[in-house]
Amino acid sequence: MTSTPISGPVAQKGKKLDTTKVRQAHVTGWILLGLAVLAAVVFGAGSEGTATFRLSRPNDPWALPDLLIPAAAFNYLVAAVLAFLGVRQFLRGGLRWTSLSLGLGMALAVAAFLVWATAGKGFSLTGMLQATVVAAVPITLGGLAGVLSERVGVVNIAIEGMLLAGAFTGALLGSLVGGIGGLVAAVVIGGMFGFILAALVVTYRVDQIIAGVVINLFVLGVTSYVSSQVYSEHRFLNNAPIFSPIRIPVLADLPVLGPMLFQQNLFVYGAIVMVAVATYYLFHTRMGLRARSVGEHPRAADTLGINVYRTRYINVTVAGMVAGFGGAWFTLGSVGRFDENMTNGLGYIGLAAMIFGRWHPVGALMAALIFGFANSLQQKLALLNTPIPSEFLAMAPYIATIVLVAGVVGRARAPAADGEAYVKE
C-alpha cells in the first residue's frame, strides 16, 4: 500500500465561485439597509418618550428594576448599526458573516419595532417571554414529532391531525376521568395515528404526503362533527380540568428566567425533557444510529441486518405519541375545552420549525421559540394600542415562518431517504 492519499472526485467544497456569494451578500446588504431606513424613518422619527420594559412582577422576591429605554435615541442607534452591517456586506470583509448579519439585523429590527410600539408606555417583557415559552410548546412537540419520523425517512404531514386528535381526546377523556387519564388517552390516540400513518406509508406504500393529508382531513372532520353536534347538547363532555403550573423551588424565584421556565405546567417541562431525551436517543445511542441510517440509506441499513420496516413503524408511532402529548396542551394545558380546528395550523408551523431547526430536536426547540415569540408579540402588542391593525399583527407568526424558512435557513439538508418508500428486494 502506498501512503499517498488517493486523489479522486472529492466534492470541491469551499471552492465556490465568488459571484454567487457576492450576489448573496449584496441581497443581504440591501435588506439590512432597508431595515436601517425603516428603523430610522418610522421607528426612530416616530417615537417619543421612553419605553418602559418591566422585568419583574410586584411580588417577586428578587426584583429587577424596570428597563427604561429612550425610544428615539435607541432606534436611531439601531438604524446606525443596521446601516453599518448592511454596508459591510458590500465590502470584501463582510462575506464571511452574511447569514449571521442577517439574523442579527432581523433581531435588532424586531427590538426597534418593540421599542417604538412601547414608547411612552409600559410593557411587561417577562410576561411576553413567559407567553413565548408557552406558545412554543405545541410547536416544539409538533417539530419534535416531525424530527422523529423524518429521521427514519417518513415525511409527517399528519402532525396537524395528530395534534388535533390529541387535543380532542385529551378534552373528552379529561372531562370523563380526569386530567391524567385525558393525557394518557391523548398520547395513545396520537400513537395510534402514528401507527396508522406508518402502516399506510411503510406497508402499503401510499404516497407520504397524501397519507398525511388524509389523516388530517379525517381527524378534522370527526372532531368538528362531534364538537358541533354532540358537545352542544352534552357540555359535561367538554369540560376538562387544566394542569396547573408547578413551581420549582428556588429556581422559580429567579427574575425573568423563573417565570419563563420554572413556574410552568407539565407540558413545558415535558417538552424540554422530550427534546433532551430525543437528542440523546438520536445522536448518542445505538438505536438512534440505526434509526438515522434508515432515514439516510435504507438499503444499506437492510444489508446490515437492520429491520427497516420495524424501525420506521416504531419511530413514527413514537412521533405520533409525542404529537398526541402536544395536542393535549391545547385543552388540558391551556383552556380545558375543545373547539373546532383549535390547532389552527400549528402542526404545519411545527414542520417549519423542524426544517428551520435542521432536523435536530434542539434546533426545532429554538425555532419553535422564535415562532412562539412572534405569536406572543402579536398578542401583547394588541394590548398596546399600536397604529397597526390587529389583523396584521395576527399575521406575524406566519410571516415569521415564511421569512425564516425561505430566507434565513439557507440550504438545510433533509435525511436522504426522506419521503421515499422502501421496497425490500
Partner: protein, 506 residues
C-alpha cells in the same frame, strides 16, 4: 471457511435468474466469477449473502447445510459482501458506518464511539488500510470508500468476502492498490469471491475462474493461465467477439465544436467544470476519460444546452451558441446520448414510437398544428427500430419492457436517425451486454466516418481507448492531459485520471 453452493436456482416469477449452479469456494483462494451484466452473478451472490432466498438448492458451510432468513444471519455465519453500489451512509463517519448494526454500547444503549474508533484502527493496522475513522464518508474518494466497505466486512469477522464489480468505480492506480488488499486478505486465510465482467482483471487476481451465462455455469478454469482471454470472452458471451473498432480511415476535417474557457457550476454552486477549452473536428472522435464525478456530467449538460454556463463560450461551426437552447442545438444537428437512459434518455412508460419523437414531435412531419400524426410517427418508428436493431415485437410496447441494451438502441435510433453533424455520447454503453456494446460502438464509428464530430464521455477506459481518435482526461473539472488515440497507453491515462500526470496539459 469453505463454502459450497449445491444446485442453487433462483426464480423471479417465471424468470429464472440463476439455474442449478454448483460452486466451491475455498479458504485462502480467490474465486473469479465472470459474466456479462444480467448473467445472474449478483443474484447468485445475493442468495449467498442472505438478501434473496434460493428457490431451490443448498448452501453448505464447511460441509454443514445452512439457510439464511436475512442478511443479518449470513453476516453472523461469516459471509460479507462489498456491494457494487456502496452501502455507506454519506453523512455518517467512517467509524459509525463500520459499526452500524453491530455497535459497541455502554449502559443506556449509549453508543461507544471511542471503542468503535479503536476497533477501526486495529483493522486498519492489521491490513494496512489507512482510513481515518472520523472522516465523513461523503468527503472521501471512492477508492477510500471501498476500503471502508472492506473494513465493515472485516469488522463483522467475515471469513468469506464477496466483491461485486469492485473495480468499476476505481482508477487504474486504485485497482492496483485494491488488488494488493485482496491478496493480503487471501493470504490471511479468507475465502474471496470476485465478481466482474472484465477479462483482464479476472485473470490477474483469481486462483479459480467460473463463467456464468444466462444464470448457468458454462465454464470453469482451475488456474487463470489455463484459459486464454479470447476463450473466456467466448464463454461469457456465447460466441466469438471482437472488441476492436476500426480506426478512422480519413483525417479529421474542419473544427466543428470549439469550447473556450468554459466554466460550469453544479447545483450547489460549486465549480464542476473549471475553465475548460477543447475542440472537436468533423470526422473525429474525441474521448473524455476520467473517474466519474470529475465534472463530465456538467460539461455534457453545458454543451447540450441543459445547464447554464457560468463563464466562457461554446461555438459551433464558428457561431456562438453559448446561450442557445437545447432545441436550437438539436436543430443545428446535435445528437445527444445522455448518461442515464432511464432518467434523462427515455420516458419509460411511453411507447417506443412516442419515445422516438420526443425530440421532433413538433416537426411538421409528425404533427399538424396541435394534432399529432401518429400514423406517420409509427411508420417512422418502425423504420428506425429495424434500422437500429431494436429487438421488440411492436413499436407500441412501453420502453420499460425492453432490456437495457434495447433501450439504449432506442435512444441511439432517435438521436441518429436523421442528418446529424455532432454527436455527444455520455456513458453510451454503461451496463449493456457485449452484443449491444459492439453494435453501439459500430454506429458511433459510422457517424464519425460519415463526417460527424463525436465527443464521447466514459468512465470505462477500455471504451475510450477503443473508440477515440484523441483522448482528453478530466480531473477535478479540468482537462489535465491529452493523448493521441492510436498511441495512448492505459497506464499513463490512468495516472492522469488520478491527477498525477506530469506531462503538459492540453
Amino acid at each position: 471457511m469453505n463454502v459450497e453452493l449445491r444446485g442453487i436456482t433462483k426464480r423471479f416469477g417465471s424468470f429464472t435468474a440463476v439455474n442449478n449452479v454448483n460452486l466451491q469456494i475455498r479458504a485462502g483462494e480467490v474465486l473469479g466469477l465472470l459474466g456479462e451484466n444480467g448473467a445472474g452473478k449478483s443474484t447468485l451472490m445475493n442468495v449467498l449473502c442472505g438478501l434473496y432466498a434460493a428457490t431451490e438448492g443448498q448452501i453448505l458451510i464447511d460441509g454443514n447445510p445452512v439457510s439464511f432468513a436475512g442478511p443479518g444471519e449470513a453476516i453472523r455465519a461469516g459471509i460479507g459482501m462489498v456491494h457494487q453500489h456502496f452501502m455507506l451512509i454519506p453523512v455518517f463517519t467512517v467509524a459509525e458506518n463500520v459499526v452500524l448494526g453491530v455497535e459497541p454500547t455502554g449502559p443506556l444503549d449509549h453508543l461507544d464511539l471511542v471503542q468503535a474508533r479503536a476497533q477501526v484502527r486495529e483493522i486498519n493496522d492489521a491490513y494496512g488500510l489507512e482510513v481515518d475513522p472520523d472522516a465523513l464518508i461523503e468527503t472521501l474518494p471512492v477508492g477510500v470508500q471501498q476500503r471502508v466497505e472492506i473494513i465493515k466486512v472485516l469488522f463483522r469477522s467475515a471469513d468469506l468476502v464477496i466483491f461485486d464489480e469492485p473495480t468499476a468505480v476505481l482508477t487504474p492506480q486504485e485497482v492496483v492498490e485494491f488488488f494488493a488488499i485482496v491478496r493480503s486478505l487471501r493470504d490471511s486465510g479468507k475465502a474471496i469471491v470476485f465478481i466482474t465482467h472484465k477479462l483482464g482483471e479476472i485473470r490477474e487476481i483469481s486462483d479459480h475462474i467460473a463463467v456464468l451465462r444466462r444464470g448457468e455455469i458454462v465454464g470453469h478454469a482451475d488456474h487463470p493461465d489455463a484459459i486464454s482471454e479470447a476463450d473466456l470472452a467466448e464463454l461469457m458471451v456465447g460466441r466469438p467477439v471482437s472488441f476492436d473498432v476500426k480506426r478512422n480511415p480519413n483525417p479529421p476535417g474542419e473544427p466543428l465544436l470549439e469550447v473556450a474557457d468554459l466554466t460550469v457550476l453544479n447545483n450547489n454552486d460549486d465549480v464542476a467544470v473549471d475553465d475548460i477549452s477543447l475542440m472537436v473536428r468533423s470526422g473525429e472522435i474525441v474521448g473524455i476519460a476520467g473517474v466519474q464525478g470529475n465534472g463530465q456530467s456538467a460539461l455534457v449538460e453545458a454543451l447540450t444546452g441543459l445547464t447554464r454556463v457560468a463563464g466562457g463560450t461554446v461555438s459551433f461551426k464558428g457561431k456562438d451558441i453559448t446561450r442557445a437552447s437545447a432545441r436550437e442545438r438539436h436543430r443545428m444537428g446535435f445528437a445527444h446520448i445522455p448518461e442515464d437512459r432511464q432518467r434523462t434518455g427515455l420516458i419509460p412508460a411511453f411507447s417506443i414510437a412516442e419515445n422516438m419523437v420526443l425530440d421532433s414531435y413538433y416537426d411538421d412531419r409528425f404533427s399538424t398544428g396541435p394534432t399529432m400524426r401518429w400514423d406517420v410517427v409509427n411508420k417512422a418508428a418502425a423504420h428506425a427500430v429495424v434500422d437500429f436493431d431494436v429487438r421488440t415485437t411492436s413499436v407500441f410496447d412501453a420502453v420499460s419492457t425492453l432490456s437495457g441494451g434495447n433501450q439504449q438502441k432506442v435512444i441511439v435510433a432517435r438521436e441518429m436517425f436523421r442528418d446529424t453533424e455532432f454527436l455527444i455520447a455520455s456513458q453510451p454503453t454503461r451496463g449493456l451486454d457485449v452484443g449491444s456494446i459492439e453494435y453501439i460502438h459500430s454506429r458511433i464509428a459510422q457517424a464519425r466516418d460519415e463526417g460527424d464530430g463525436v465527443l464521447i464521455v466514459s468512465s470505462e477506459l477500455d471504451e475510450i481507448l477503443a473508440l477515440s481518435d484523441r483522448i482528453l482526461v478530466m480531473f477535478k473539472g479540468r482537462i489535465v492531459a491529452e493523448f493521441d488515440g492510436a498511441t495512448a497507453d492505459k497506464a499513463t491515462i490512468g495516472l492522469a485520471m488520478a491527477g498525477r500526470y506530469e506531462g503538459a496539459a492540453a
